[in-house]
Symmetry: C2
Subunit: 257 residues, 2 copies
């Protein structure tokens, strides 16, 4: 796709008409896949610039609904975790038509003006359960892929910063938001869970202590099955006791008194 079709132009003109100008949504879509924390990045049709998914807020729609609609358009999944974690609003926050290869799309002047305007972006993160994660592209983007967060690939604009902040938000929300419901498949092992915590927190955790603490929480139910891995002792499979897990969550801040 090297230029806009008539249909694309109509879609964009409609979007511009019904959306709040200069305000965008960006969502960091996470998954935990093969022991890696990953997020979705999309490539602009021309050039080699990668972005995280985004969209606009319709006039008759609240911001979180816009984020949810956007997420659905991108993943075709309803009812995902969706948490707002910050606003990105530097004064030079805009796409560059030349360096970003947007002008090669040969879009109408009005659309180009809209797209290259200064945008304030409200940032969300979401979590997708691994096997159901297919991402659909949009007219602007020709490719979508999962990047490992530990690889810190360079993204366009301030999107690398947004991803980094999203990871911090994950860490802060680990005890208060039901993230495991989305991160973990129906059955999983404690070592897998530990890797998730480690990559979110960015530090290693003692195996014995992690296990002890997790089992004491009371939301891990042993299935009796084991995961046949490789040439080592197979880890035991657990599933989440949803109610106990939800009840274990707390907004409390640990202050030490």
């Amino acid at each position: 796709m090297t230029k806009f079709t008539e249909e694309n132009i109509d879609t964009w003109e409609n979007t511009m008409r019904i959306s709040i100008p200069q305000l965008s949504i960006n969502t960091v879509i996470f998954r935990f896949h093969k022991m890696k924390l990953q997020y979705v990045a999309m490539k602009l049709v021309h050039g080699n610039l990668w972005f995280i998914p985004g969209g606009y807020v319709h006039q008759d729609e609240c911001v979180t609904d816009a984020a949810r609609r956007n997420l659905f358009e991108q993943t075709q999944i309803h009812d995902l975790v969706l948490n707002e974690f910050g606003t990105f609003g530097s004064s030079d926050r805009r796409m560059n038509a030349k360096s970003d290869g947007i002008e090669k799309l040969e879009m109408p002047e009005g659309v180009l003006e809209w797209i290259t305007n200064r945008f304030v972006s409200i940032a969300y993160y979401s979590v997708i359960t691994d096997p159901y994660a297919t991402i659909t592209a949009s007219p602007l983007y020709s490719d979508a892929k999962w990047l490992n967060i530990e690889d810190d690939d360079a993204l366009a604009m301030d999107h690398s910063i947004i991803v980094a902040e999203a990871r911090k938000a994950l860490a802060k929300d680990l005890l208060s938001k039901p993230l495991l419901l989305s991160f973990m498949p129906v059955e999983f092992t404690i070592p897998e869970l530990q890797r998730l915590y480690e990559v979110i927190l960015g530090r290693s955790i003692d195996r014995g202590n992690f296990r002890k603490r997790m089992l004491k929480s009371g939301f891990l139910i042993k299935t009796g099955l084991v995961k046949g891995n490789a040439r080592q002792r197979p880890p035991e499979l657990y599933h989440l006791h949803k109610d106990n897990y939800i009840n274990s969550l707390t907004e409390d801040v640990k202050l030490g008194f």
Copy 2:
């Protein structure tokens, strides 16, 4: 002030020209005054509706700078704590010309249209050191006062919710942001500090344990003076050891392993 002056109209028309439409800033300005956590509310000229301070983002200005400029316009103080804590963007988020008494201001149609438009608001909180807190009004507002957060007065629009969320943000930031530098005067007592923590956290704290924990942190320096209060043992005065206090702050999340 019952209607707009020529000068006000000029100011507003300039604001509209240079600001991002449908995007606003709101700031909850806190102080700790006479053992109460308070915030600034401003009354619209007509009617009896109270709002928290707010403003707009100029095209050439980043969002946090806009919040800072706004705060300065309202308080005449530079360099205050300013933390973003959320976005408020429901689809019906707008002022009502009739019920809010805005139409009585007899402002030009363009200004009225701007003001009563749907706005997405980015919310900040700030903290002001008690004795320096004078608030200046604006053309829209005839009165400004400090409200006690525990009184939960009803504010216009979603502003009560914004204030409640701001308090939650204070609690979350208590260990990671240097809030005490702004909340406490140069000299203060440990019981005063404890009341601040209690009102922010919304729960009572054991006196002995609070004291022990605070003194162990190493950022409280005894001045040797006491605060002559009333008919009881006078509490000792302390001041903050700024470096030690800053060093004691941490972004770490306590997870238990």
